[in-house]
């Protein structure tokens, strides 16, 4: 084992140094002491040419992981030789009609092509290939593990084709038959383990044969067998994008609409660009292959760079499926950059990676298309705009005829460009370790897009929808009847037009190319029962409720077009500046939750109007989780719109502002108030359920000296939270030097404050020793006086020698949080909310999830807020989430993947980290890792990052959180992507109860927050009625939540022996788990007396044993009137 480790350590980089180390050992006292010249050059090179030395090491590790090892290479070579020999040795077949299937059926092989229409002229005869060669990534050494498949190209002899076989899919059919014939012959060979068909790059015109060959060492290798014609089989100019090679007469049948076209003059016939490109692809393959091979030869940096790019693409799900940015494209693009001298052969892999992404992020593949062709533009070659007009992205190949990117739509390229831009941005954040972001994070479709929707397909729908497409029959002919592809492209175009500035990207989910057995029917795209699209929103415009069109005078052609597009939705409106514009108003509700779904309305409208997709077939996923933030208000009050609560937070803050003003105007305090800052989560927009106005004027309340008090036997009053506001006084030297005395003075301040607020501002107040409660607009604010002196006094320790030292105590830490850290955090996060309107709903949804899993007490709220803030401040590899549900998914994913052990989370609030901090924080973290808590969240105010993560979560708590997050994420993603029809999106908000030792069920009447519970259809008991808030109104019952009190009491009483779990938002159970070490036998000690009984062991030693029955008893006693029943799923 040791030796193995040692071997592992000697990585590639070190190998170069090995020699150097030897020499240094000899002349240790050379110029630079411990290291050799070679090493120094290497270090300097790293400094100059790489991102950072860590990044360099990580990249080389990654390359080692994904590169194909020599052993495998040899195995592939050997398998290829064997296969090539077999294929070349195949005998000439009999002549069959193309439509003849009998000879294949006898071997139970199906042709791997959807044949539409079935009839076609011509004959097919199998001739052994003239040439078999290895091609693609294996030759270029750019293959990326795992699942490497080596491409093998067979050249079909020219004699197999008639000169006119390019017409009417005859070529494609013969090609498919050729593969089927090869398959039928290889079928029986001993070394062939398995034969499967699949579509190359998901293209239904292009079946390929996957051959699994057993190697000599009994391990098998997969090869992908392509069939291409010899280069000079057809003239390339025949396949110019604007020419027709599928005759309408044939495709649509004799009676079809194409009958009026002249068969011979194809220039009048509709072009078949996609079909043409397919044939060109095969024809140009060897030219392109050999060119690329020549260019990349002997440049290790380039091939490594391509590998990195491939990993990057694959993590983003960009390189697989029909119309993807395939690995052939990226390789060709690197070659293009090499041709244009943007890259050169001596560049290292990082330079290649970065330069390629940089030029991708600036590229435009429609107007300034790249081209591998170097000669003069021939007249027979299509120009760039001819390609573009077809609606493809353009990348011209070596021959100048073929568009390599012919399957890719411009919208898809926009995604690639967007991702490349994000990657460059991430690389420019030199201090964040972007390695994980670029290469190790998998961006699933669900997590990458703000809004996702599915369209359920039926054959009627497809037919109806395709009628909406211009020239649909021609395009159908071009695509060989694959209407799905046509529809998807059409939807992309319409949506990008309709959503315009609201979105950054629209992208369909690419269907993965499937494999099927050679005896099965080929896979048809029309089998798919739904299409999935994702939108990335531009948060600045996406939530506008109005689309303002052109000037609305009747003669304006633009206005006419606008009206035509939006139909009856568009109406002329007068704007503030007096002009009249055509405009579409999507919602009149000011609610954030409604505005977030404006895009949903637009999508549904456009799909119905322009794509023929009825509303009920569209399943929009955004907003599905909103119900978890919703409250069911029994609203007699029309003004109170709750939505997802953003507006309620604002209402609280408005009331707070008024209290703030009253406080500023206080005159009776001897010291003036220096700053006022709320510290309750609501002031950071992160209170899961912002307070509702307290109820007024119930008749049967009992009032004691201006306070409503709860009465036993009556139903419990509605819960009214008190929201803490810190009032920091100006500094003064007159504060006493004793903590107790300061507290007394503060109490006197509170008394004065309460008096003046009550007398001058007529606010109902309740004065306590440590705070004053004030009622304003139905909200209760808890005002607390603060001064920095108290903190200093609490920290002061005087040593024997008279030196004054400052040491943190438990009390000082708590006070510091309250008067310094929280006010600061609150104002910073309040600022973040102004920048990102989705922050509030996201953080509240995340908190809700944590609470509903009953782990609320394991992780402080502030820690959750900071993690979510991080997702907005440093959203890489995504853009900042614009919708709470995607925010929750990223939060869960972050929780699962972040390596808390090795990294501190650095939340750059307000960008206040200095350059030095960015390097010193991780360094200090590494040094002190053993003593730090399990999670470290560093902020510019708290550089060790321990403020909000001590004492919980502990390592085991963290593991539990991670486990819950992983499972929830898995469920949520599959709900959104596949089970969207039947899913109950509340599933991940229901905690499992079976692993608790004790489940305490609470009485419904004791649960004052029942209306917040996940499955509660309960209405909020009573709401504010529009009564005049009379003078002398009593204060409502404040912070009176018996369930929460009971839970806290259980924690403080039994905390040593058991852990308790509860959902503070209306949860009706408390779960309990025994602490393992508490249940063991203990020595007879005073500190261990509680809830233990003495037992005498064999040798007369007296031990203590936990008495679970009596604990159970006391839980019941303490919960009198609160607990319904206690269940023990397991034995006590």
């Amino acid at each position: 084992m040791k030796r193995k480790l040692a071997e592992n350590e000697s990585s590639d980089i070190e190998k170069t140094n090995d020699a150097a180390v030897e020499t240094t050992k000899k002349n240790k006292k050379s110029k630079h002491g411990d290291f050799s010249g070679q090493e120094i050059t290497r270090l300097k090179e790293t400094e100059a040419l790489f991102h950072s030395s860590l990044f360099r090491l990580q990249m080389s590790e990654l390359l080692k992981e994904v590169s194909v090892k020599l052993k495998l290479q040899a195995r592939v070579k050997e398998a290829f030789e064997a296969l090539s020999k077999m294929v070349k040795g195949l005998s000439v077949g009999k002549v069959h009609k193309i439509t003849d299937r009998e000879w294949l059926q006898s071997k139970s092989i199906k042709v791997p092509l959807i044949e539409n229409p079935a009839s076609v002229k011509g004959v097919f005869q199998f001739l052994p290939p003239v040439n078999v060669r290895l091609s693609g990534s294996f030759v270029l050494d750019t293959a990326v593990k795992p699942d490497v498949v080596a491409d093998v190209v067979m050249e079909i002899p020219k004699e197999s084709f008639n000169p006119k076989d390019y017409l009417n899919q005859r070529y494609t059919r013969k090609r498919a038959l050729y593969l089927a014939a090869v398959a039928s012959k290889l079928h029986k060979k001993k070394r062939i383990e398995d034969l499967k068909f699949t579509y190359f790059l998901g293209n239904p015109y292009k079946p390929v044969l996957l051959v699994t060959v057993k190697g000599s060492d009994s391990k098998s290798v997969q090869l992908c067998l392509h069939a291409v014609p010899e280069t000079d089989t057809f003239r390339l100019s025949r396949f110019h994008v604007s020419r027709n090679n599928v005759r309408p007469k044939w495709f649509l049948g004799k009676a079809g609409s194409g009958a009026e076209f002249d068969e011979e003059d194809d220039s009048l016939l509709p072009a078949t660009p996609f079909y043409n490109s397919n044939i060109l692809h095969d024809l140009c393959m060897s030219t392109n292959d050999s060119f690329i091979e020549k260019m990349l030869k002997g440049a290790e940096g380039l091939s490594q760079g391509i590998k990195l790019l491939k990993v990057w693409l694959r993590q983003r799900e960009l390189s697989q499926g029909f119309g993807a940015f395939s690995s052939c494209l990226i390789t060709a693009y690197v070659v293009y950059l090499l041709m244009t001298k943007k890259l050169n052969k001596i560049m290292n892999c990082y330079q290649v990676f970065r330069t390629t992404l940089l030029s991708l992020s600036k590229a435009d593949w429609t107007s300034e298309a790249p081209s591998l062709y170097e000669g003069k533009q021939d007249r027979s070659q299509p120009a760039v705009d001819e390609f573009r007009d077809v609606g493809q992205s353009v990348f011209v190949d070596r021959t100048g005829y073929f568009n390599i990117a012919y399957m890719m739509t411009p919208t898809f390229f926009a995604r690639v460009k967007h991702e490349a831009g994000l990657a460059i941005k991430a690389l420019d954040h030199s201090h964040h370790n972007c390695f994980d972001v670029l290469f190790m994070t998998h961006l699933s479709f669900a997590r990458s897009f703000d809004h996702i929707f599915h369209i359920n397909l039926t054959s009627e729908l497809i037919e109806a929808a395709s009628k909406k497409v211009v020239d649909s029959s021609q395009k159908e002919m071009d695509l060989g009847g694959h209407l799905n592809i046509l529809l998807s492209q059409h939807i992309q175009i319409q949506l990008s037009k309709a959503l315009d500035r609201r979105i950054c990207l629209v992208q369909p989910l690419l269907s993965v190319s499937r494999k099927w057995n050679i005896s099965d029917e080929p896979y048809s795209f029309n089998e798919e029962n739904h299409l999935t699209f994702g939108l990335v929103l531009d948060a600045t415009c996406a939530f506008n409720i109005l689309d303002k069109g052109p000037l609305g005078n009747p003669g304006n052609p633009e206005a006419k077009e606008f009206r035509e597009f939006w139909g009856e939705k568009s109406e002329p409106r007068r704007f503030k500046d007096g002009t009249i514009h055509e405009a579409v108003l999507w919602t009149s509700s000011p609610c954030q939750s409604d505005r977030r779904l404006v895009c949903k309305k637009i999508v549904k409208f456009v799909l119905e109007r322009h794509c023929g997709v009825p509303r009920r077939s569209v399943h929009y996923m955004a907003g599905k989780l909103d119900s978890l933030l919703h409250l069911n208000l029994a609203s007699k009050n029309e003004n109170l719109i709750y939505g997802t609560g953003e507006e309620q937070s604002l209402a609280v803050i408005r009331a707070y502002d008024q209290v703030n003003r009253a406080l500023r105007a206080l005159t009776s305090l001897p010291l003036s108030i220096h700053s006022i800052q709320g510290i309750h989560p609501v002031f950071r927009h992160s209170d899961v359920f912002p307070a509702l106005p307290a109820p007024v004027g119930a008749d049967d309340i009992s009032v004691v000296s201006g306070h409503v008090v709860p009465k036993e036997g009556k139903s419990l009053p509605q819960f009214v939270p008190a929201m803490t506001v810190m009032c920091m006084l100006e500094s003064s030297g007159k504060w006493p030097e004793e903590a107790e005395a300061i507290k007394c003075l503060k109490a006197l301040f509170h008394v004065k404050m309460g008096k003046e607020l009550h007398e001058k501002h007529l606010l109902p107040v309740s004065v306590h020793k440590t705070y004053v409660d004030v009622l304003k607009d139905g909200f209760v604010f808890r005002l607390k006086i603060a001064n920095t002196r108290e903190l200093a006094v609490l920290r002061t320790v005087v040593t024997d020698s008279g030196m004054i030292k400052f040491r943190e105590t438990e009390e000082s830490v708590a006070l510091e949080k309250e008067i310094i850290a929280l006010p600061h955090l609150t104002s910073l996060l309040h600022g973040l909310q102004q920048e990102h309107p989705a922050y509030s709903a996201t953080v509240r949804l995340c908190k809700r999830w944590i609470a509903s899993q009953m782990v609320w007490s394991l992780l402080r709220e502030e820690a959750v807020e900071l993690i979510v803030a991080y997702l907005f401040i440093f959203p890489h590899p995504y853009t900042a989430p614009a919708d709470p549900s995607v925010g929750l998914m990223r939060f869960l994913h972050f929780f699962v993947t972040f390596n808390w052990k090795a990294n501190p989370l650095m939340v750059n609030l307000n960008k206040e980290f200095s350059e030095e901090d960015l390097t010193s924080i991780p360094k200090d973290f590494m040094k002190n890792r053993a003593t730090l808590p399990s999670m470290c969240i560093a902020t510019p105010q708290d550089k060790t990052g321990t403020k909000w993560t001590k004492p919980t979560p502990s390592e085991s708590h963290l593991q539990r959180l991670i486990l819950l997050a992983r499972e929830s994420l898995k469920i949520l993603e599959s709900q959104i992507m596949t089970d969207y029809l039947s899913s109950d999106f509340k599933l991940i908000f229901r905690p499992p109860l079976e692993h608790y030792d004790l489940v305490i069920r609470l009485l419904k009447k004791a649960n004052v927050l029942a209306h917040q519970s996940v499955d509660g259809p309960h209405e909020v008991p009573a709401c504010v009625e529009e009564k005049s808030l009379a003078d002398g109104q009593p204060l409502p019952v404040i912070e009176f939540n018996v369930a929460r009190k009971y839970f806290h009491d259980l924690q403080s009483i039994f905390g040593d022996v058991a852990m308790f779990f509860h959902d503070p938002f209306g949860g009706n159970v408390i779960g309990m788990v025994w602490k393992a070490q508490a249940t063991e036998k203990k020595d007879f000690k005073i500190s261990l007396f509680p809830y233990r009984k003495p037992i005498v062991c064999e040798n007369e030693v007296i031990n203590l044993e936990l008495q679970k029955e009596s604990i159970l008893d006391d839980i019941r006693v303490l919960g009198g009137g609160i607990v319904e029943c206690i269940e023990c799923p397991k034995q006590l």
Binding site: G33, F35, L43, S53, L54, E61, L62, K64, E65, P146, R314, Q315, M440, V704, V709, P710, E712, P736, E740, A741, C744, L745, A747, L748, V751, V767, H768, K769, T770, M803, I804, K805, F806, N899, A902, M926, V1042, Y1046, D1049, S1052, I1053, F1084, I1086, P1090, Y1091, R1092, P1094, I1095, I1102, Q1107, E1109, S1110, L1112, D1113, D1114, V1117, L1118, G1120, G1121, I1122
Partner: protein, 270 residues
């Protein structure tokens, strides 16, 4: 379970008498109380030695009156003190102790009028299960306790009075200290040292860790300022060398990190 030889005898383990009690008749399991006479190195007036009984492991919902009920038969009780933790004297009721009491298992100090009250208590029989409540003295817990707790609203006048009283005492004490300091101003002690105080003519600065550190730093920074950088060839060489050493150190550190990541299989992208 511990078995006693005699049914009517007390169970004494390592000096502690063990009692079985139940909260009420509805309780299923009994709770174990541990009693012993109070003894402490510090004597205090409230808890006279010999007349005070310590009871450990008192349930959290138990109040003074419940304990009175339990020990009613042992002798006349002067007072019951309930505390969250054992201590040598009654824990001082701070001005702020009434706010936010944290519930926990308690320790009770029961002061009897006569010493034999303690003796009687310590010889209570083990086998008899006793109750902490009856009809006249009920258990107050759960919802009822929470409601009662809420009803204890603060009395503003009392707060003001209490706080003012405390401050008056505090200021008086402060004044006296100051006076004493002033008197000692400039007066050398036995060894001839004069104490620098914060009053009087020669006010000394506060001697804190911070100021001490700053002083050291000041000296260091002054020394640094006067130094010439990269002036001599050897210095230049030195800086270059340290730069490379830094790079080297960082490289080594990174290598270590990468090794750790490799161990944790952090390089499998898919």
């Amino acid at each position: 379970m511990v078995s006693t030889t005699n049914e009517s005898e007390a169970l004494v383990l390592q000096g502690f008498t063990v009692l079985q009690v139940k909260g009420s008749e509805r309780s299923h399991a009994s709770h174990y109380l541990f009693l012993r006479p109070h003894s402490s190195p510090f004597s205090c007036a409230e808890w006279p030695e010999g007349k005070t009984l310590v009871v450990y492991s008192v349930p959290p919902y138990c109040r003074e009156e419940n304990l009175m009920l339990l020990f009613k038969g042992c002798g006349e009780i002067v007072q019951v003190y309930l505390q969250p933790k054992p201590s040598g004297m009654p824990s001082k009721k701070s001005f702020f102790s009434t706010e936010e009491s944290i519930k926990s298992v308690q320790v009770a100090y029961v002061v009897f009028k006569k010493p034999n009250g303690v003796k009687n208590a310590c010889s209570m029989t083990y086998s008899q299960v006793r109750y902490l409540s009856d009809k006249t003295v009920p258990l107050v817990s759960g919802l009822r306790a929470y409601c009662e707790e809420y009803k204890q609203l603060p009395d503003v006048a009392a707060i003001e009075k209490e706080a003012e009283a405390y401050m008056a005492v505090y200021y008086k004490k402060k004044e006296e200290e100051e006076k004493k300091d002033k008197q000692l101003e400039g007066v050398p002690d036995e060894e001839g040292f004069i104490k620098v105080t914060r009053h009087g003519k020669n006010k000394g600065g506060r001697r804190t860790e911070e100021t001490e550190r700053k002083g050291h730093e000041h000296i260091r920074s002054r020394r640094k300022k006067n130094e010439l950088k990269d002036f001599y060839t050897f210095q230049f060489r030195e800086t270059k060398k340290t730069h490379i050493a830094e790079l080297q150190a960082k490289f080594e550190e990174d290598k270590k990190r990468v090794k750790e990541m490799r161990m944790a299989r952090k390089f499998k992208p898919f």
